[in-house]
Symmetry: D3
Subunit: 223 residues, 6 copies
Amino acid sequence: MDTVVVKVTGKIFDDQEALRRFVDVVRELARERRVVVVAGGGRVAREAIEKAKSLGVSSNYWLDEIGIEASRLNALILVASLQPFSYPGVPRTLGEVMHGLAYSRVVVLGGLVPGQSTAAVLLEVAEAVGAREVYDLSATDYVYDKDPRTSPDARPLKVVQASKLAEWLKAGQVPGDYALLDLRALDIAARSRITIKIASYKNPGNLIEMMRGGNPGSTIIPE
Amino acid sequence: MDTVVVKVTGKIFDDQEALRRFVDVVRELARERRVVVVAGGGRVAREAIEKAKSLGVSSNYWLDEIGIEASRLNALILVASLQPFSYPGVPRTLGEVMHGLAYSRVVVLGGLVPGQSTAAVLLEVAEAVGAREVYDLSATDYVYDKDPRTSPDARPLKVVQASKLAEWLKAGQVPGDYALLDLRALDIAARSRITIKIASYKNPGNLIEMMRGGNPGSTIIPE
Amino acid sequence: MDTVVVKVTGKIFDDQEALRRFVDVVRELARERRVVVVAGGGRVAREAIEKAKSLGVSSNYWLDEIGIEASRLNALILVASLQPFSYPGVPRTLGEVMHGLAYSRVVVLGGLVPGQSTAAVLLEVAEAVGAREVYDLSATDYVYDKDPRTSPDARPLKVVQASKLAEWLKAGQVPGDYALLDLRALDIAARSRITIKIASYKNPGNLIEMMRGGNPGSTIIPE
Amino acid sequence: MDTVVVKVTGKIFDDQEALRRFVDVVRELARERRVVVVAGGGRVAREAIEKAKSLGVSSNYWLDEIGIEASRLNALILVASLQPFSYPGVPRTLGEVMHGLAYSRVVVLGGLVPGQSTAAVLLEVAEAVGAREVYDLSATDYVYDKDPRTSPDARPLKVVQASKLAEWLKAGQVPGDYALLDLRALDIAARSRITIKIASYKNPGNLIEMMRGGNPGSTIIPE
Amino acid sequence: MDTVVVKVTGKIFDDQEALRRFVDVVRELARERRVVVVAGGGRVAREAIEKAKSLGVSSNYWLDEIGIEASRLNALILVASLQPFSYPGVPRTLGEVMHGLAYSRVVVLGGLVPGQSTAAVLLEVAEAVGAREVYDLSATDYVYDKDPRTSPDARPLKVVQASKLAEWLKAGQVPGDYALLDLRALDIAARSRITIKIASYKNPGNLIEMMRGGNPGSTIIPE
Amino acid sequence: MDTVVVKVTGKIFDDQEALRRFVDVVRELARERRVVVVAGGGRVAREAIEKAKSLGVSSNYWLDEIGIEASRLNALILVASLQPFSYPGVPRTLGEVMHGLAYSRVVVLGGLVPGQSTAAVLLEVAEAVGAREVYDLSATDYVYDKDPRTSPDARPLKVVQASKLAEWLKAGQVPGDYALLDLRALDIAARSRITIKIASYKNPGNLIEMMRGGNPGSTIIPE
């Protein structure tokens, strides 16, 4: 049975309508496939990290742990709403993801370890389950060649090579928080030849479209 | 070494100043004592539960699990800010609390199991560690004999018998969400003869005062 | 697939004939359904607790832990006799019950946490798996309106409202150890609208009868 | 700090007076040493195994698991009565024993894995913690050269070589259930050169005497 | 569904061709059966133990733990090469083996606990899963009646009684490291009446032949 | 108490003399400090990965898991040789490292998760324990500005900025497998301002020298 691996931005947890439609899409998919969802931390993560900082916490280890825990809270909301298809817990390791998939249709997780983006988690899960393609319902519509917030001439890209995107990231041309993907994620995509498709979380139907071969946002090819 | 067992309302996580002072108080206490803190879920829990409900989750089991996970996120913020005194994780069972205390000065937890208030957790921890007295930095200043929100003649009580309070609770005279204590918590207090002192979270110094024998809020005696 | 949730009194472990028939009934049910069995502690629990007390253990936490461990020993006897249908272990958390059900037909557990009756465990499991009805093969035949051991005029009740029973419990009219149900269990039944059917463990066939809509003992309706 | 490793027969759990004195001895020892206690299953184990057999369980794996669980129930009684010195749980692996010793004075366990006598557990713990000598408060006073129940000329032995005892065991001259030690235990004693001292559980003070170099029962030397 | 229980000598991990054919055989078997493979430690174990010894480690507990860890590394190589049939991890307890079998076709493990041969593990797994026959792809072709390395007149045995072999082992006539089986393994075989078939690992097809009733090496009957 | 965080190349496990001296150095340090050692996989990892590949395993997830397991075997050799100072197991998560440090002087680990170099593990541990400086006993003596194997004009660097080294790595001027550090490790060093000192594993005394402020190899400053 095929396994769909998808990441959803933490932003969706503040958009009730999009969230509801996303759950519907996953439930629909779970009829015929296995689905792994990686949930971002979003506002809850940001607020919790802020609270810790205001208490004097400066250790990136602990700030990351807090962010991860927040993403797990988001993941648990999905777990509950995807019963009885979903593995009844939020895996904390890749190994647990693999176990979960052995007997559940749907597995939902948040972050895994400090110092790792959820984009990297997305690619690691894909590598572990042997997926050739992953989907990212992200906070932006497209991957751009420059930072669109500061460069009026930034162009959205329908298709981009992973190596090219990595180059821009290294050169600081596209900031990591905007490119949605860090070098770690691109590295895994490259080494295991995984295609990444990105589209806006605002239309969860994008996931279906991407799975059917469409490209409503951007496609990053492992070259 | 004595073990101080204290619950802090989830509300404190939205009151930066009170939160900071609470952390200072616990850090101070940890110099000479062991401290167990039970953190409430507060706003984060309420919001996460609302999101799940809006997705159609009606199972109280799952709603409780989500609330518990939120309280653990709050607990983790305290864990991080209480390093290196704190056990480096949020215990998920009473057994883990006991293990944590065997080698750390401070242990912070959230909820433990579905269908159990954090007040009940507070009393269970007290029973497990053998504490004779517990402290509740709560959202209200006092225990009242009636619901002060609806009864203008409600009187704050400096001292009240657990059996009397249980009676009022059973009769619905004091609503559970206001009395801060449910029957389960009162049952444990009664069977293990544990005194409960309640005071407002807004002044975390109340914890020190209560420990020294003072009674800035209400005292519930196990009779 | 439906999930049958049933509690069996610890007394059955001292009644070889009833125990054997109970195992047969569960094995039969497991052909077409999932079954969760909550086993009581019975004589083994009582004796172990007595030994601990005679050694000076007065902590209710530890006495409860010992009682729980005894109920797990009883549960393990059922696990062994229900192979290969049964999950090959005794779950220690509700989460583990859920996991077990994801790949085994039968899950058997004992108590879960200190300070919680096995009746409460029964209802919590029901809530977690979404059961609308639970069965209690108990040490008595019926729920009574008074303590039948002391009140000659106590009447067995075929049907009783949970709220009514809760009232009697609170008033001490029916002692908790006789009513078979504590307030905690009734609370969960009420909040998740779960019907409780009670019948004597001496005739394990009662379980089948109750499942088919019969009422060989008492029925507690969540009103 | 030295670690005392002692096994106590399950029989002691039916001898309130001996049990109480044993707990006193361990508590006393814990002031200056680490102590590991291996508890036998005794009557509780035997009865639970009988119940399983009467339900048709014939798998030695499951019967052993039940016996182990019973020994853990006995161990938990000791854990509770040895608070706050004791590790607050019953270890299920040698690794957990080692962890427990890293921060607790006393660790109490029962059996570990199916098909292994508690005598073998005793020796494995000794090997793991590096003890040169172990103590067995056993159901008999001495090791005999023949089965004393059937051979009137059986002689109690003050000192016996492990190799000699192994020989007798292999030849069936001393039945395993009487010799108290199986070949597995003797193997470990031999390979790690550990002396085994055996004395009656009826006088727990024997433990102190053996530790001081005395030999109130039998000594098995690793030769 | 039947469960095939097979041990493979650690030597096979240094024989690429045999290893590849063994994996093929297991994959083939997994189509219609469950398979449990117990992997030996082989050269990796020996080398790691040597390194530890050269660092002064003399504790048999730690040397065994290192050997077990090495066998787990071998097991993991098989796990990876048997995806997606294999349980995605290396079980560390018999209980975990049982869980793994509940939802995976293939489970691969190495050693379990210190002081236990992988032959004993083989028999314990057989007992746990209820297998009547186990297979040992071993470093030698046959069981001999004497040590063939030192006794020119040693005869290979096609069929041998477990009791007879045990006798020879006890008498030192066949050294344990050559007989491939220790007394512990023979004990379990005897008590649970399990037949052991041994054949050379060099021809993994022997496994199929043994399963079909053939006897390409030696058969040890539980008498 | 200070915590020394050091990585040692897997190569040292094939250099008996260096390994022995390294163990002596750590044992010495453990008298006054906490020490965390991250062990590389070395030859054992390479060989195990080769075996898996020859069996057709192409998934980077599984190849990484095998490499990690091999590094854990190396770590366990150190754990055994560093008794009784060392935490008696090999942590599998950063959280477990933190727990281990709470009650043991020495903690030894291997890799943690797939797709992460042991250099990255080194930095993550440093971040978690709050170390300002880490030590890498590596396979080479110095960090070079080019690949010394192919560029005769490569210069060893006594001091280099992390940002400069990252630049070279990105440009492919220094291959990752030679620079000993990947971008992930440099990222963490940068964000938490951790200095990295590298020196040859052949002289384990380098560790002491680096701790005392010396620079026998190269120092990478977080700028």
